[in-house]
Amino acid sequence: MMRVARGARRVLGALAIAAAVIALLALSSRVVMPKNNQTEFGQINAAANGVMGEPADTIDVLFLGDSEAFSSFSPLQLWGEQGITSYVCATSAQRLYYTTSLLARALENQGPRVVVLETNCIFSPMSVGDAAMRALSDLFPVFEYHNRWKSLTVDDFVGPVRATWADDLKGFRLDHATQVKPADATTYMQETDDVQRLSRFNWLYLQEIKRMCDAAGARLVLVSTPSTVNWNMARHRGMAQAASELMVDYYDLNVGDTKVEIDWSSETYDAGDHLNLSGAQKVTSAVGKILRGSYDIADHRQDAAYDGWNDAYARYRQRLSQLGAATS
């Protein structure tokens, strides 16, 4: 009897400790979370998280991926050419666990018709520890924003958590728009029988992304943007197989009918790793035609509810003019 009572006390004690830990983590998460989705408020990866500041259910296409995505897809050009609303939730060296987090955040407020996943990040190696840390951070943001203790204000303790800011470029980046560093494309997409397969861990995450898209009624589409550094035939074959198994559409802009002709002497800013604005414009046009042709996405250009997009597009054209870039 005594032993049972002692055992029960221990279980209750353990539960009390667990409850205290969870309460502390939840409360502290609430305090350290940025109170708006801007860098000034402490938001990490503000541009990618800017999608949370877009009016609800206004984004039809969501782009996900790493730096290949934010260097290649220009939502405002897509708007200008096709009238499609889109947002690029891309971050440097994005891993699929973070892709999953960003997708989940975007789906809280948006119901995209299509989710385009740029495929370079699908091959990026991931550690189980980092993925676990990401999951923990999603559950308790204090693990991601703990360093904000340095800049806490009274508002952090009492104010609401809001997301009112959206990136004017909708996640696209113009940082290296007009820079040129030619690439050596002599071995680019050389024929090979090799197949680069996804790691088991990455495959699980890709399946989870597909499941999330299905649950939200969105079509997952895989797109490989042109890159002499990151893309090759072995990856193309591996990706094509994975897309087939996953039963999703796959477009490789490096090869075949969907190939986008990139001038590797002038349309990359870092020797073939990423595209500059000129290269991105070609890719965006190609992707726009695919989206318009195969996915029947509405043209909102005449819809008064989307006037904000026309304003943003005008500002975008002005910025391109200032950069001396072609605006069409």
Binding site: R10, G13, A16, I17, A20, V21, L24, L25, S28, V32, I44, S127, V128, G129, A132, M133, L136, S137, V142, F143, E144, H146, N147, W149, K150
Partner: protein
Amino acid sequence: MKSYFSLMVLGLFVPAAVALYQLAPRRARPLVLLAASYAFFWSISGKLLAFLLFSTLSVWATGLVLEELQRRRAAEMRDPDVDRRVVKRRFARYMRAAVAACVVANLGVLAALKYLAFFEAVAAPLLAPLGIEVPQGGLRLGVPIGISFYTLSAVSYVVDVYRKTSPADHNPVRLALFLAFFPQIMEGPIARYNETACSLWSGRPVTAENLFGGTARALWGLAKKLIVADRVNVFVKTVFDGSASVDGGVVALAAVLYTIQLYCDFSGTMDFAVGVGRIFGTRLPENFRQPFASRTASEFWQRWHVTLGAWFRDYVFYPVSLSKPIKRLTNGSRHLLGNRMGPLAASGVALACVWFGNGLWHGAGGQYLLFGAYYFVLIWLGGLMAPLAERLCPRLGIDHDGAAWHAWQRGRTLVVIFIGELIFRASSAPEALGLLGTLASGFSLASFADGTVFSMGMDAADFGVVACAVAVLAAVGRLRERGAHPVRRAWELPVPVRAAAMVALAFVIVIFGAYGGSYVPVDPMYAQF
């Protein structure tokens, strides 16, 4: 799993190892521990596990050979017709040969894997004028994790069997666990066979007391590592990696911060090792005893990395000091310099061997040899000058046992330590000398006055956190110096209070830890040595 302080190790590996250990029958528990240890080793060094197996088997076999030789010697000595001195001498020769072969094989593997490239680089310019070309690049096999630590433990086992201070272990699995135990494989402590082997093999059950006590100790280590060491790392890297031009004031600050970083990183990892060892019912030897309370450089090395210092004392200093040539040298210098100074002067040879070995053990680089030479000179001269200081103090009216003199000694030793760590952290001997030059000739507080110092990876808030943490560590150290044991006393508090304290410590780590975001995870620093 490159660090004990990764989520994989703390959140998955250790809990799984503890659970499997506890669920296993008592006799199988050591095997669970060995499997976990080899899995841990494999996850970092892969096939280089073969070198750990080689060390294990070689010392196991040598132990058996020594035991057999000791048995035969005893048997022959019992024979009344033999000349016992001849038998003794003959078997001593055999046993020395066996020990030497094993030690040379193990240290040879260590040298080949860790030092070959360094020796090649040193030899190439020396042999080039003779027309001898030295191939470069070393073995390129990689260096197994913890080889510097487990090799010393392996050597100590063989020598202890030879000296009959340890029995020869007939069980290779027990010996394997002694050498591979995962909490200590990365950075030590360098345990002796008698200290841990039998305890690890006993398969004691995990008790609530050990589980919570060990977890608390590991948490304390995690706090040192994440709150202090990894935070300071950004500043230290900025200064020492030469990405910023800095004045002597910043170099001095970097030397102090690097010392704090190294202490918190290394002693934090030791807290983890001792804590996890305790969970499995094994008491690992302590590696730190308030090193910054030392009054001399010599004392510092009796308090810092204690098990390494003890290893060099027992297996280098004493054997060299007691060797015939050094005994002859001691007798000669005794005639020349007197009974006090003579032996001290002669002990310089043994001390030089220790510090050459200590410097080289830390790494294949000129800065480490310079580091060893620095401490050799300080400690040897300190020994030689001590009698002079003892005579001078009363004449100058200084109370040799007074608090003021002790404070002066501690302050002086701190400066010695900071300069030593400055040499240690440099990427080469010339860079170390360059930094010392900047410290001496370009000392300025301008970077502090204009706030530049806050733009080198640590802002004012970071300095505040480090200052608070150092104050807490200093207070705990002070209590320990006075013989109090604050952690043990805290452990006598009611369970809910202890639990609350542990939750609070964990929460402080979550908030003030330097992880995620712009912080790059730092692998345990001593694992590279």
